[in-house]
Symmetry: C2
């Protein structure tokens, strides 16, 4: 059964692959699971039909048979549970990989999203310039801690996992910022993720939505 | 084997049970798993010994044999996987329960944490009063959507799960705000969670750290 995911009809990041369909596409590519994409407009996302699938009116969603999911972390986890390749077989290593999935989305991502909110929604506010350093410092703290833990290793816990997939994708949201450049091992980590063939296939597929050209 | 978790030596919320050891205690109580608690001071949390367990220098951590975890969502998930009672047996219902775990921590919690950051760290800033309505509106959007999805049901997906446990705990962070009172079904949902015997035992145990009295 070919799962169907949803993605933005009009890429708000002009094909940079920062939207939340990207980690789902990447996970599907890592495990070699073909998928179909249904594009959704901004207005359709907020309508009842889409909200029945995604109560928060966002993308992505995932449908396979009688299972419907939203929330990119949960979809990536479901894909990782159904296939070999994204979670270690060893039970302790598996728990740690899942730990990094939650860490990416619950601890590292929120301050990064705050920077995006400040940049896109609060740029014209009187407080923008004054408040920005506080937001950046909160990101810097997390990056410094993550950089210390990663050290000189390739991945967060021995072998590449769904935890790395989500963490790399979260860090990619800083690609327009100089903040991550302060941490060379994190830059190398992101580059390592982006060099994976599955990442490249997923990236090309989402880019094709923006350019209107087939990824082949 | 009795797992050991860490919690704040000095409760920053004066025993309201809003710190992140609370969902872990609650999960352990739901499945009937005894546990030990090691209290950590604010300074010790930032030292190397604790950071070896938790790279972001926070609580809780979870140690059982040769497994060490951080990140409350991941610890709750680990407990739910190792015991019966927090995740449905049916595979699709299980995936949906996990979906709600991620939704609680990745979608509903971040704007609530922003309100806490604004209240505690930005209250003296010139922009505080002006910016507050934007932060509150972002929470209100999420609450309205969650309220619509929950409707008149008891739990997010048929039976109580780890998804409800985390969502109730996230919504409890709004207990000092009037925002959640705009959504009576969410208030009833939180009350339903707080009425569970396992919640009460976990709450009393963390309160005892603050009062210095045994929960018995």
């Amino acid at each position: 059964m070919i799962p169907i995911i949803t993605a933005f009809e009009q890429s708000p990041d002009r094909g940079q692959g920062l939207a939340r369909d990207m980690p789902v596409r990447w996970a599907l590519e890592e495990v070699g699971q073909p998928y179909e994409v249904r594009l959704v407009s901004f207005s359709a996302m907020k309508e009842a039909a889409h909200r029945a699938l995604h109560p928060f009116g966002q993308i992505p969603t995932y449908e396979a048979g009688d299972l419907a999911l939203f929330e990119s972390g949960a979809i990536v986890f479901h894909i990782a549970e159904c296939h070999v390749g994204l979670l270690p077989q060893d039970t302790n290593a598996r728990s740690r990989a899942i730990m990094w999935m939650f860490a990416a989305l619950s601890t590292v991502e929120p301050p990064i999203v705050q920077l995006e909110i400040a940049t896109y929604l609060e740029r014209d506010q009187t407080w923008y310039e004054q408040r920005l350093p506080m937001v950046e410092d909160s990101i810097r703290s997390r990056l410094a801690e993550l950089s210390d833990r990663l050290g000189g290793t390739d991945w967060l816990d021995d072998v590449f996992s769904a935890g790395d997939l989500l963490m790399v994708q979260v860090l990619r949201r800083l690609s327009g910022s100089s903040l991550i450049k302060e941490y060379p091992n994190l830059c190398a980590y992101v580059a390592r993720g982006e060099a994976r063939p599955a990442f490249k296939r997923a990236f090309e597929a989402q880019l094709a939505v923006f350019t209107g050209k087939s990824p082949d």
